[in-house]
Symmetry: C2
Subunit: 333 residues, 2 copies
DNA sequence: CTGAAAGCGCTTACAG
DNA sequence: CTGAAAGCGCTTACAG
């Protein structure tokens, strides 16, 4: 037994396919109550589910948004973004779906062949080669949201993140601050640069010494190397702003192993507000990004592109928020 | 200027749409080299990208697999699964896409309307209400892979995980072992139960005392409560198998705050092998799941369902692997 | 208020 | 070797 179609429903309800289509699509203003009910009954009886393919082909519009899955270490934070983006788009009648960037980068461009989205969204900027087939297929794009792209494209104020870290440390009286950069992947390179730029600017504006910039890999040995360098320097670094919470925890644990007290000898602040930050000792100060707000912002931008008619509610970008814990302030009580 | 279609290409190449279709779909065995080249030239010149809609409608088959995004704390581990699943399916000519379960659960069933997948995949078991519309739309399903479902459905041997933990601890001489359950969400309830069941069975088989089962929330206070209870018990618990690395780290940090030495007073082993485990002090013993293998297994199962003709290479399920670090063995050297 | 008809872009027997 | 034609399941002017 094959799939139930519009025609089947029409036959069962004793009306034309046209009428069924109107009822199913809630464009039934001009259909009398009685007819509508007959149709709805038939739909229910037959368990009719409209074909997305037929609909997409006939209407010429897609109701799917593809988001290239943001990667990077802060997966827990990203989850929140995805959820909010999905919910916002769903409320507008779109389905949002996430795509992993294939390990074989060349195949990336092939992926749209099957999906047929109204819009492709990406945290980082897509290359021209990646963009071209999309353009040709008439797919809208919203890219460079968080990484890459211009600073205005970004839904998250990355510079503000670095700035917030340094300002917090400066407020606590630190004059010699280090910035811990991550080992870069394509994904977070531009993010790291933007955060560092913000941190650097804040240091200058606060009249601090130039930042000591170090790269910290996520392992104990590398952490210890960095901490030793900072504490040995003259004058010594007394605080470090880390690219993310994972770098911060690496530094925090390295300090413990080296007998460097946190925050007395070295204050540490991360970014992301991972749950982890509340588990370690001392607990980790950090900067929380409001990715829910960012996602709502992005959703609004997407809808503006795919539904130019729709009323777009502008979303203001909320500034990053410093979460103060023991690693900068010391144990309370 | 509107989108380039098959017809445009046919016109440009001076052949029929039929011929173009054959060439584009690599079914061109019987098309002479010269014609094929003319067509390929036209495709390139016009930048033709076939319409997924038209193709899906005409062929009656979808090349899209939707995977309901696995959630849970171990996001970093899940990433690996997703990547592998995507790659495997891509190699078979399918596009794999991930869907967030909406916060408003009722809307979940609506999501297929726009996507039109060949198969829906889910880590946990879907409810009957969720399954029904899929069935009606002729969409294959592969569910209960990791959570829910029967033990045979599972791509990951969850019982084996708990078993591996307890066997490792028993080998080290521990006789009184606790199991730290997570605060349950829908996602990991059945996983937790399966792991506990495996742990319990292993304890029995090894002739150990019954496991002390405690729930540990991810915060310092709850961790300390649990650690105190274990150390105060008579005879005291000397080792704990935690549901996941996050629970394990919570316990580890709580121990430190209480002055309970790890592993001398309390040995700890987690699950997931999160990067975090190598940063904390002492470093965390854990059980690593081979999610790449699991994903390959799942991909094979999916292909068997959507392409019954295809040759399915059976994938053997690799057993969980214990990663021994300081939290059970003590600091080396 | 309702339906016949054209068309969305493709695939695929089938006939030449 | 190649193409005319039907059809996939729907939407949407348009005419009644």
């Amino acid at each position: 037994m094959s799939r139930t179609t519009l025609k089947d429903v029409a036959q069962a309800a004793g009306v034309s396919p046209t009428t069924v289509s109107f009822v199913v699509n809630r464009r039934a203003d001009h259909i009398p109550e009685s007819t509508r009910r007959r149709v709805e009954q038939a739909v229910a009886d037959l368990g009719y589910v409209p074909s997305a393919r037929g609909r997409a082909l006939a209407s010429g519009r897609s109701r799917v948004v593809v988001c290239v899955s943001p990667s990077g270490p802060a997966a827990a934070v990203v989850e929140e973004f995805k959820r909010e983006l999905s919910d916002s788009l769903m409320a507008a009648g779109f389905t949002c779906v996430f795509l992993e960037r294939p390990s074989d980068g060349d195949q990336f461009v092939q992926l749209w062949r099957h999906i047929d989205p109204a819009c492709v969204v990406s945290w980082d900027a897509l290359t021209a080669a990646e963009l071209l087939p999309l353009e040709r297929a008439g797919v809208a794009t919203v890219t460079g949201l968080v990484m890459g792209g211009t600073d205005e494209d970004r839904a998250v104020d990355q510079q503000g993140v670095g700035r917030a870290q340094v300002e917090h440390l400066a407020d606590l009286g630190h004059r010699h601050i280090a910035y811990a950069m991550p080992v870069m992947t394509r994904e977070d390179e531009s993010t790291a640069r933007a955060r560092l730029a913000g941190a650097t600017a804040a240091a200058r504006e606060s009249g601090l010494a130039d930042l000591t910039v170090s790269t910290v890999d996520l392992d104990a040995v590398d952490g210890q190397r960095a901490v030793e360098a900072w504490t040995r320097a003259t004058p010594s670094v007394t605080a470090v702003a880390a690219y993310g919470d994972l770098q911060a925890v690496t530094i925090l644990e390295a300090s413990r192993r080296l007998g460097v007290r946190v925050p007395e000898d070295l204050a540490i602040i991360g970014v992301d507000d991972l749950p982890l930050g509340q588990l370690v000792f001392p607990t980790l100060s950090t900067v929380a990004l409001d990715l829910r707000a960012a996602a709502a912002d992005v959703a609004a931008r997407i809808l503006a592109v795919v539904e130019p008619a729709g009323t777009t509610v502008p979303v203001e970008r909320r500034p990053p928020r410093v979460v103060v814990r023991e690693s900068t302030l010391g144990a309370g009580a």
